[in-house]
């Protein structure tokens, strides 16, 4: 019973690290640079927010399957496929969590009063330093909210994960998948315990966001 929880935590935390790194990179790219195809690329990042998880999972299956556009060269290089591994669960969690983190962080950064950025420039700060020392701390609320939302989404991911990672106990069976199969098999006690875990973790995350918002400092 503990195994789905451990798998979920492993998958979600790894996905979260990837989500943070990708969001920081993408937000910098989209808020500081102008380039062709910017809108198209941004639409693609946001797409998982509106697509049903099963369609997303099927898309990933087509893309990363042995004969897929990305799966084929990966198989040729490493003689292994991502599909039905815990890596695929991480990928699914990453894809669904990224737009939430990206959107929230970008919203936080674009809401910063432009005067702070201009003041930093007049003080001789390079754009790199402005991002880390001014923009990111001032967009703290957006960052924290995004983090919590992405983590919640990664922990709760079901449809896409089931399609690309399957239901392998101890390997790819996350809590939502375990609940589904426990209920299907009539193992209600197991389902209830896992439900409790999901409820507690979700409540914890919401409490975390609310308390951080209340502690916000303004000037």
């Amino acid at each position: 019973m503990i195994q789905p929880i451990l798998v979920s935590l492993k998958v979600a935390s790894l996905a979260l690290i990837l989500i943070i790194a990708a969001s920081l990179l993408l937000v910098r790219l989209f808020t500081e640079k102008e380039f062709r195809g910017k809108d198209t690329l941004e639409t693609l990042i946001m797409l998982p927010m509106v697509l049903p998880p099963t369609i997303l999972g099927y898309g990933l299956l087509l893309l990363f399957g042995r004969h897929g556009f990305l799966g084929k060269p990966l198989f040729a290089l490493f003689d292994a496929s991502l599909i039905f591994t815990w890596g695929a669960a991480v990928l699914a969690a990453f894809i669904v969590g990224l737009p939430l983190m990206y959107q929230s962080l970008k919203g936080g950064i674009t809401a910063i009063d432009e005067q702070y950025i201009q003041a930093a420039r007049t003080l001789g700060l390079e754009e790199e330093r402005i991002f880390w020392r001014i923009k990111l701390p001032l967009a703290r609320q957006g960052f924290i909210s995004g983090l919590a939302l992405a983590l919640a989404r990664a922990l709760g991911e079901f449809g896409a994960t089931l399609m690309v990672a399957g239901n392998i106990p101890g390997k790819t069976q996350t809590v939502p998948i375990a609940i589904y199969f426990a209920v299907e098999a009539g193992r209600y006690q197991e389902a209830n315990i896992l439900l409790g875990f999901m409820l507690l973790s979700s409540l914890g995350l919401i409490y975390f966001i609310t308390s951080k918002r209340r502690g916000r400092r303004t000037c």
């Binding site: 009063d113 005067q115 702070y116 201009q118 003041a119 930093a120 420039r121 007049t122 003080l123 001789g124 700060l125 390079e126 020392r133 001014i134 701390p137 001032l138 703290r140 400092r217 303004t218 000037c219």
Partner: protein, 343 residues
Amino acid sequence: MLEVSVQKKLHLFHLDCTFKVGREVLAVTGESGAGKTSLLKMIAGLMQPDAGRISLHGRELYNQDNLDVRTQDRKLGYVFQDYALFPHMSVEDNLFLAQKVKDEAQVRELLGTFGVDPLAKRYPHEISGGQRQRVAFARALVTKPDFLLLDEPFSSLDPQTKERLYKEFHNFRKEWNIGALLVTHNAVEAQILSDKVLEIRDGRVVREKFNHLKGRILEIVDEEYYKELVIEALGTRLSVVKPEYFSFANYRENMQVAISIKPENLILTKDARIGTCGGNRFGGVVKHVHRTRRSTKVELQVGEETLLCALGLRAADRLDLKKEDHVVCLLAEQDVEILNTLD
């Protein structure tokens, strides 16, 4: 010397300004939306002009041939209207951030200059508006800028704090000997704090006023029907006669005062024999003659000060002034305006 000649199409008008300013304070006044802040932002590199040229101490910062030095490399100090202190950093961290190598002694010294060193560990939201303004000035000087750009730095302060900070501004300017461009919509503030005032309306310079001077009261004559102040300014003694209802109660001898002489009130002559029937009279040297279609502006060197004189076209033709000409300036006693005390 900051030399600016910029053109920019804004929402409501076309901004077109040309001026230069050395180690003095140039105040840019005008109503809201006249283009004052846009002008400041163009100088700082925060907004790009459509055409023109900006240079500082001979170093080009912008020209229309594709030169546009980054804000970070312009070496300009900028004090924002709302100070723009970083709210997530303490007062001292706001200053440390601007240093390439952390120099605690410099930060302490700067905070000390502005009397805010006891607030070093506080956050901007924990200090008053006047204290925030002092921190903003200290922060703008951390990078040892070549010139200061001040965007209405006194506008959000109460009158008492404002008056105290005017004096501090005077003192700090004296100590640092740095040129500044002060944007303000307050004409009195412009007169008190600056050496020269540039009034802009709809993006164009409509008036250029010099002649804001500092002086010291030598003598106060306050009799029933006659009131006179004798002020030491322009390297000479200036008599200031005030109407009988004017109170001298706020003045005392040796007090520093700010005075203003309107360019159109100065009379120039090359004939040393002409007097003023008891008015003020002093010599000056022509530095620059600027002729426009309607009038002629003459920049004069009087002692260590620069005075601006506005002449009518006929008077200008009659005098035929050229650079380095020696002239006599005549000024009526009632045309010297006392703006403020500086002590």
